[in-house]
Structure formats: structure tokens, C-alpha cells
Symmetry: C2
Subunit: 238 residues, 2 copies
Amino acid sequence: MALSPPSPTSFSSQPRPDPRNPPGPRANRADLFNVVRERIARHDYRPGAKLLENDLAREFKVSRAQVREAFGALESRGLILRVPNRGAEVARLDISQMFEIYDVREVLEGLCTRLAVQNTKPAFWQPLVTLFGKPMERSVKNGDFEDYIEKLQLLQRRTSEAANNRVLTDMLASIHDKTRELMRRIIILPGRANDGLQQHRAVLSAMRKGDALLAEKLKRENIRSSREFLVRYQKFIL
Amino acid sequence: MALSPPSPTSFSSQPRPDPRNPPGPRANRADLFNVVRERIARHDYRPGAKLLENDLAREFKVSRAQVREAFGALESRGLILRVPNRGAEVARLDISQMFEIYDVREVLEGLCTRLAVQNTKPAFWQPLVTLFGKPMERSVKNGDFEDYIEKLQLLQRRTSEAANNRVLTDMLASIHDKTRELMRRIIILPGRANDGLQQHRAVLSAMRKGDALLAEKLKRENIRSSREFLVRYQKFIL
DNA sequence: GTCGGCAATTTTGTTGACAATATCGTTGAC
DNA sequence: GTCAACGATATTGTCAACAAAATTGCCGAC
């Protein structure tokens, strides 16, 4: 009987490895998958861009067979679109899909926040409360969006970890892959960064008080607010 | 510039093709993926069972390369587990994962129900209200679980279609793949089928009235109730 | 100049062979 | 009888070559 193996290199998105450009030595399956995914998420590969098997095989010093295998995973994740005999291209996400994702994201992020609060002591969130205080306010005032985004991702990571739900984390990761670039464009919208900061502070305040249900409610409002900006400015973003 | 292609054979789980045993002629990529997925979902392949590349290649009359490609997709969906040089086996889902899934499922099914109501006229649900009336009561009384499950799936399908959210439908499909067998075991638990029927009736009643928020609330209660049965009887189910 | 068709090139699809690794069974020492 | 070492077998990992299809560039008719 096969015992549950130590699972050295899970393909899952869970432990995202360093997604820098491929090192000298050849990459393995998970590397290839994660690097291409990261590139799609950060729009290094633009939507609609063709992905050539040969190019990737050469770059990663692997055979085309491995590239194709990674394509299978990327396709099932909805990151690329494959047409027989015509190859693979980065999935284009139209605006209606974006709104679909927002509906799902709202309930999942809300759930994630609630679980995170339920699984931790309130004091756990104090460092993040502090981080989202004065220093973050300066970043917003100065228009330092990189810093803002970085700290936002930290909050998301901490929350996801605390939620301690692998299925949920995976789904959120999948959603974030598709929305990363859009988020960057929304954050620079006039007033969005400040609105967002206030909302995140409210969420964190509820988390700091251990009020899971309130935190969930506020988190969902935060997502809906972001969505409203997309509605209002969609002409400029796309 | 590449135009959006007609997308003849999307890999996505959306339009689930007939997943019967492979026909005489060779299968294509999507067939292989969907058939294996279906077999895992219905426990034709039991958790922990080894999947041999050669066997599948022979059965479907395709090359091993294609099997490996499908494995890439199955792995990224969490349906199989691969260990380098040791092959692929059907993912084992332990009880804690099941509870993780329940948390996610609760909010997603709730969302799905709400969207479905918002997108339809109340009268749309009348046939299902009728279906879940007397005839279904007989099925429960007679212990005809196959019929019960069949009608439940019809309700889920209609709801998912009406929700009209591809991202959501895909995630729910992915969850259902992992929980199908468990649902079957829960439904036969003493009192569960009847409890479930009453709950579904309540949900449908709210849908029939066009009360989206109430329907969502009741649907979530329905999932939580199912979860309670798992808590209470988990020793018997696993 | 535009259009259609033809050939050259590129790209994907498929296969089979070979290497690397793990698994299983056997043998033999103790 | 137990255990370790070893060899045989089975399975996965890798690759390169070939076939099939699509794309591109070119040429000539009009």
C-alpha cells in the first residue's frame, strides 16, 4: 500500500517559489509553471500574447514536452488559452469576467478575513495595525504606490496564512493571478488609495478587536468599493 | 494581431462533455482530462490509487505525452498527487480538508443562489418548486437516493447556469468533484435526506418569491446543516 | 494596387526510443 | 527466520526526430 509520500515538490500554488528569471541550470516542472504564471500575472506576458513552446523550452533548457505539460496546468487554471494546431496565448480577460471575479472575490476575501480572525488572538494583528497607521498614510500622500501595494500584499498574505484553509488560499491565489494588474491600475485612480487605506484600517481595527463578523462585513465592503471604482473608471482602465 | 479565436475545444470544465468510457476512436486532450476527472469524482478511481501513464495511454489510444499533459492539469486542480519518479495517485482528502471545503462551499453556493435569483424572474423556479414537492417526498420516504441526488443535481445545475458566472461555476465544479462521493454518503445518513429536502424547499420558496438575500441565507444554512451531519457521523463515514 | 494561390518556413502534434529511478523478488549470510 | 545486498522488472523522465497543420512571404493575373 502506498503511503502518503513526503510531497517534496507539490505543484500547488501554495509555496510560491522565487519566480525570478530562470537560473543557469535547468528548471523543473513546478518552476516552469510558476515562472510563466508569475509573468502572466504581472503582465510581463500581455493578454493575447502568443506563447511559443520552442522559446520557453530553450529559455528554461527543458524539452518541449515539459513545456506542454506546464501548458496543461496553465490552461486548466484559465491563465492561457489553447487552440489545437494554433498554440497557446495568454488569456484575455474582458470586463465582464472582471465583474464575475469581483463577485467571487468579495465572498472569498470576506471568508478569509473571518477565518483569520477566528484562528488568531487579537494581538496578532497589532503589527499590521501599526503598519497601516502613519507610515502608510505618508506613502499614500506621496503617491508611493509600490510601497502601498507591497504592504497590502503583506496583509493579504498574513490573512491567508491565518485563515489556514488551503482550498481557500488556492482559489484566492488563482483570482489574484488574474487581477493583479487590474488592482495596480485601480489603486492609482484618484482617491482610491486613500479610500482603500481607510477601509483597510477599519477592517484591521475589527480584526484587532477580535470581531470576526464585523471584519468580514468590512472586508466585503472594501472589495465592493474597489469594484465601484472599476465601474466608474472602466473606460480609462481598459 | 491575433484575433480571439473561435475556441473550439476549451479545456475548461465549463461544458462538460459526455464522460462515458472512451469510445473506439482516440480521445483528444479534453476528453482524457474530463474522463479521468469524472472517474476520480465518482470514486471509480479510489483515493490513493496509482495512475499509470501506460495504462491510460493504451486505454485512450494516445501517447504517454498526452497523458502527462492531462496529469499536469489534474494536478493543478488538486485531483491527483504527483511525486517525481514515483508517479501519480488520486489525491486523498482527509477530514480536515473536507471541512476546509465546507467553509468555502458555503459562501460560494450562497453566492451562486443569490446571483441566480437576481438574474431570473421568480416564475423561472416554479418547475423546480413543483419537482421538490410531492414526488421528491416519495423518493425520500422510499429511500430512493439515486432519484434524490439526480434532482438535487438538476437544481444545482439550473442555479449555476442562472448565476451566469463562469468563474464561480468553475470553482463550484472543482469543489463538487472532490465532494461528490462524500455527499452520497451523507445523504444516506438517518434523517439527512429529509432535513435536506425541507431546507431545499425553503431555499426554493425564497427563490420563487424573488428574495435573493433570504435564499442565500437559507442556502448557507443548508450547507452548514450538511456539515453538521459530517461532524456528527464522521466516524462512520471515514 | 489588390487579390488569390502557391511554396517556404515556422510551429504544433505525435511517436518511439532511451536513460534514470523506483519497485519487487531472490538469494545468501548470519 | 531476519535482514541486506543484488539483480530483474516496471515505471517514470527525457529527448530528438518526424508528421501535420498553420503562417508567412512571394509571385503573377487582373
